[in-house]
Assembly symmetry: C5
Homo-oligomer: 338 residues x 5
């Protein structure tokens, strides 16, 4: 990396706001950091690749990028405001790609968006929202000049691969939560807080699926469509990304199904518990009804009630009550109501 | 716009009922307001585009439009009565497009329908029901003559784009309601009014999906089918609309799924609450049963009941009752039944 | 129509049982009512179209029809017994079409079946079950000879259009019922009679969908398949029918979904009501338990119970009981349990 | 049939176990009953068709059949053990077809399997499990030599048609049960026995669908794929079978959906009943609580309770109790709780 | 096998860790056990096939394999870590196949993964996790040299067939459990343990489906895609595997549906039981309320209560109480509440 670093030092620093990085690469090595305005002239030199990274650029900056690479109005318009579906579009000899990113931000999931412009000799990435910086991608690419030397389609691959890789920790966190929830659901009926957690997990998975689902098509087209910016030798790499996205998608779908099972199971567990409560209630009511009824009878004020006069009537009745209660208790316990 | 305005003043005003606007455009500027009967002759002049806007026209007006542009009987029949599915049909060298519109009308959603006839040198829009006037589209187009100069396919794009744009505020309102509902569902079991709201939201989304769903196919065909009325340079614009419709559709589908989750969650929350009520009921019954049973026993009239004679029997029994009740209370509280 | 009527009078009347009508048309006008046995000879004359309408014919009649037009054994076999799926089949140069019909028969829906044989110069319709007579179609066609002059494919179009038109009043009745049901479902938990109605509506919709669904494919093939019996100029007409069937299908699907929503909503409403009953029960039990418990205590027979001797003990206790009950009542009311 | 019978008598009887029938047909008439070992030589004579029917043959018998007709190892292996999915496979110039059969066996449904080998001049059927003998097919074919004369593809058609025809009585039985169940479900909440019946019906339908579903594809391929063993003139016959299978499939799907509706309806009916029980319980508890509470109060032992001394206090209180109880009763009845 | 065994003895034994077997086959007989480093030279000899089996190899071993056969970086990377979706990929003239395996490990299901590299003259299998050793496959192949002589595509078939065969016992175990569960579900409401079992069965089936589902596509491509490594004569074998996988998949889907039915049935059974408990509770409360209310009335202390003075008042009241209770009991029993 030394050569590249040297090269960097000889060029002017990046100053514009919204520009994260703007470099020119020859044979996989950064030979200059450039201003946006110089991009077109650098790019037109044979073997030179311009790689520009923007973060929530204003329209002025986007316009200047557009001028440099003759980008289509509609793509620039799209890149200006987020909330696009993942897609791939070809405008003349330029590709415009939208991907949704997902990262862990502490405990919750932060969704972002990345727009990519790729053409002969350049790649421009535009990040919106909570998407991670692509500095690690840049560093990894620069540390492996031979791969990077393949050009802008390799950079495209590296960024898409990075985006898809970043889904995994998010999925793992969700998976852990789902597994924790599973144990709880089956152990006892859910509390309101658990239901809320279950609900939010389903929403997160829905958003994640919406982010990942259309990306399959994007990658598939990069792999199959013989786009002019993607050399045939790069297609196995994109197939690898497609594959990775599909794996992520399958995991998401499985988790969604598992949560649906969990919902159904928890409905059953809740029903079991409700019935258990009803049984307990009925059992205790029955047990308590015995002394109440018997005592009520001997609390009547009839003049002629022979039992009341018996020496041990009281004790006999208490014995009967106790026997009945204990008998009922054991009976209910035996049939599982208590 | 001055030139256009001047031009307008030199032509006769529109008088027919049902005609919202009828103008002729050359190079994106309105050169005349015309009567329907003149449309054919204006249209046949090279570089002239006739743009007519109708609102719930009667059959006479439609017939006269039909004559001017040689429209197909079936298309005119369709345009006469609303309740068509969104569709695109090619009759000879004319396109017939049906789209459903949705706007906010105060708090509720008003659905309407727009039918469009497009051919070489003309575009006729026919609005039914609560669809917004296309005056804003006209004004925006006229304020940008260079774009409008591209002809009738640009007008078609502008109208479709406007229709799709109008879905967004409707969706946002629904989204806000869904989010408000979510919070309520998870906070406590639903009331009947909330269930009704949930139900009506689902119906609204169903209608919206029915409006938007088939439009995807309409836009896709405009983008891909190489229709003679759509120049290749316009295809990226229609692709943009397709994209927009798809985003709207994805949002609708997500909201539908979220409401289904909310329904399921609310079933669980309702079950939790039902069980909580049962537990509370059982607990209080148990607590109250203790003094009732004990008091019943000491209310018996047996001659020989030693406890009754004890000096502090009453206080002892009251102590026992109190202890039992408090004990039960704490026990129930500990297990979460109270 | 005068000429046609005259022509009719010069020919012998129809006598065979099972034959509703059998006419020969030239240039859209009926020139003769014929016997089945003459059909082949009439049909072979250029410009002549034979239109025969049968109603639940016996095998003999079908065989004679078969002979006249050289129809395929299997198609005749199908036409002999009802309960076919809607379908379109091509046997040599003849088309065999099956459609299911639905009409209102008083309050309930009556399903029927129509089989159509179409070939060069003839159309034979065979009705089974509760399908409406096609006399109105015949009359409408005869009143418009220019259209009818187009030949047997126009008659085919007219009959299919009539069948599809007849679905609409059926759907409207169902829609009205669904809307009435909606209001009931949301107003209070369902009664058993309402559940039964909901159930029967779903069954009716299922049958209707089974009738309409495969018809889409039938119409689509008439529109697209370049069948030899359908002239290209007729295709827009069949496209119109396809469109109509699709609209009906969409309405059916929407109603099905609405009923599914109604079912879910009614489950929630039922749960809400169940919980409300439980809460009421618990509240009143609590209120009634207070006097029972207190009265029980002061009904004990302990010798030494100071309160019993107090001058106003009874009134004090009654005051306590009343206060407790009223207090509980207000508390329950405040939390919405009563 | 006389000629055929005579022919039969001149040949040796069938003796091998597992062989149900083995005949040679010329022009649709059986000319000989043969041993398996002779099959190849008979088959090679022009215009001769060998038709062999096996029932749960052992491997030795299958091997000998294989040798005669040069069947593929894998097909023979499949034919040796049951539990294959319905499928059609082409091995060289032979077809291998698997179909699942269903018959009524008293009250329950018996599923079986039939494997068919078809090639130039022969058809071998192998039955497994409870599949009906194809003797009726053989008899029907032999009684109609002209049809049978068409050859082995006609026999294939006859057997498939027979299999599909046999689904109908099974379906009818299920349909009757479903209709009986419907009435029960809507009349009152289900008993455990009815739930079990509902459950078993759904399983039966699932198995039936698994048997019928893949058969659609088998028939469709026989109809469309231009297989060398199926002459074009036979395709309408196979289209007829396809059609029949589709009708059966549609009926199965409808019944499945109806049972799903019934399940949902029964859940609602059960909820209605549960609520009705709760309401009844609550009403009676309220009615009984009145005398209990009032009597408790006048059972207190306060020295000073003026009412107790009143001459008609007892009767007054009894009147109050009665009035209250009757009043509550009427009130509950009016609101439908009792 | 003697010749093969002899051949084996003349070569050096396998020593590297992670290598399960590495043999060279000529005409279906093992002629040498080799070290990985020799593989390339053996493979290049005409008619020689190298078959290497690895188990959780480290990267060094994989790299050495890669060098021998010039495998693609991405495939090696995939093979290095498990958790791939079943897939088939073609890199130049090599196939890379991933399959998921499932075996019974005592009572629970152990999932594993197998990666296969196939090219002209070699097959490398890489096992991860709990997948069974392929030694039985090797032995079976070696015992049948004629089949094995066909080459590496036969080995591929043998391994895939073995993997698919291994699903069956797993499925059988699940099927047995499902049937046991069915009986329990229908006999009485589920316990929490049964719900957990039901839940876990559904998860297992989900995982199994995820393992089997994509394998259908893998086999289908081997059968249809005319891959250079699969000779046309082998296609029937792969079709057989496809068929087998499809059968397994159908069984999994049926079981999944059956479990969904079981869930629904158990919800209904649970509801029935809950209602039964409520009915029992209500019945006993009613029966017990009678003596309580009556006894309460005669426990009142009114001075003037004529019945109290009657000689047999007590016995009369007891008779009334008993009659009422028994009467109620029989009534409740008759309507099925008790």
């Amino acid at each position: 990396m030394n050569v590249a670093s040297q090269a960097v030092l000889t060029t002017e620093p990046i100053t514009s706001e919204g520009v994260v990085a703007a470099g020119v690469y020859v044979d996989g090595r950064r030979v200059a950091n450039i201003a946006i305005e110089e991009a077109a002239s650098w790019r037109s030199q044979p073997g030179h690749v311009v790689w520009i990274g923007l973060h929530e650029p204003d329209m002025a900056l986007l316009s200047s990028v557009q001028q440099q690479f003759q980008l289509h109005d509609l793509a620039i318009e799209d890149a200006d405001h987020a909330h696009q579906r993942p897609k791939i579009e070809q405008y003349g000899d330029a590709l415009f790609i939208v991907a949704r990113t997902a990262q862990l931000d502490g405990d919750s999931i932060a969704f972002g968006e990345t727009h990519l412009f790729v053409g002969e000799g350049y790649l421009v990435s535009v990040r919106h929202g909570a998407s991670t910086s692509y500095t690690p991608v840049r560093e990894r690419c620069e540390s492996c000049p031979r791969a990077l030397a393949r050009g802008e389609d390799y950079i495209l691959y590296a960024i898409l691969d990075f985006i898809v890789d970043n889904y995994s920790p998010v999925l793992e966190i969700i998976q852990d939560e789902v597994e924790a929830m599973e144990a709880q659901v089956l152990a006892s009926a859910m509390t309101r807080a658990q239901i809320e957690r279950l609900y939010l997990l389903r929403r997160d998975l829905l958003r994640l699926r919406n982010a990942v689902g259309p990306l399959v098509e994007v990658c598939r087209r990069l792999e199959h469509d013989n786009l002019p910016m993607v050399r045939p030798t790069m297609q196995p790499l994109f197939r690898d990304v497609t594959d990775h996205v599909r794996t992520v998608q399958e995991q998401i779908d499985s988790l969604r199904e598992v949560l649906a099972f969990a919902f159904e199971a928890s409905l059953l567990v809740g029903q079991v518990q409700e019935t258990a409560v009803s049984k307990k209630l009925a059992s205790w009511l029955a047990i308590i009804a015995v002394p109440t009824a018997i005592a009520g009878i001997y609390g009547m004020n009839f003049k002629n009630m022979p039992e009341l006069q018996w020496e041990y009537g009281y004790f006999a009745v208490m014995g009967v009550i106790l026997t009945a209660c204990v008998g009922l208790f054991w009976r209910f316990r035996r049939v599982g109501w208590l």
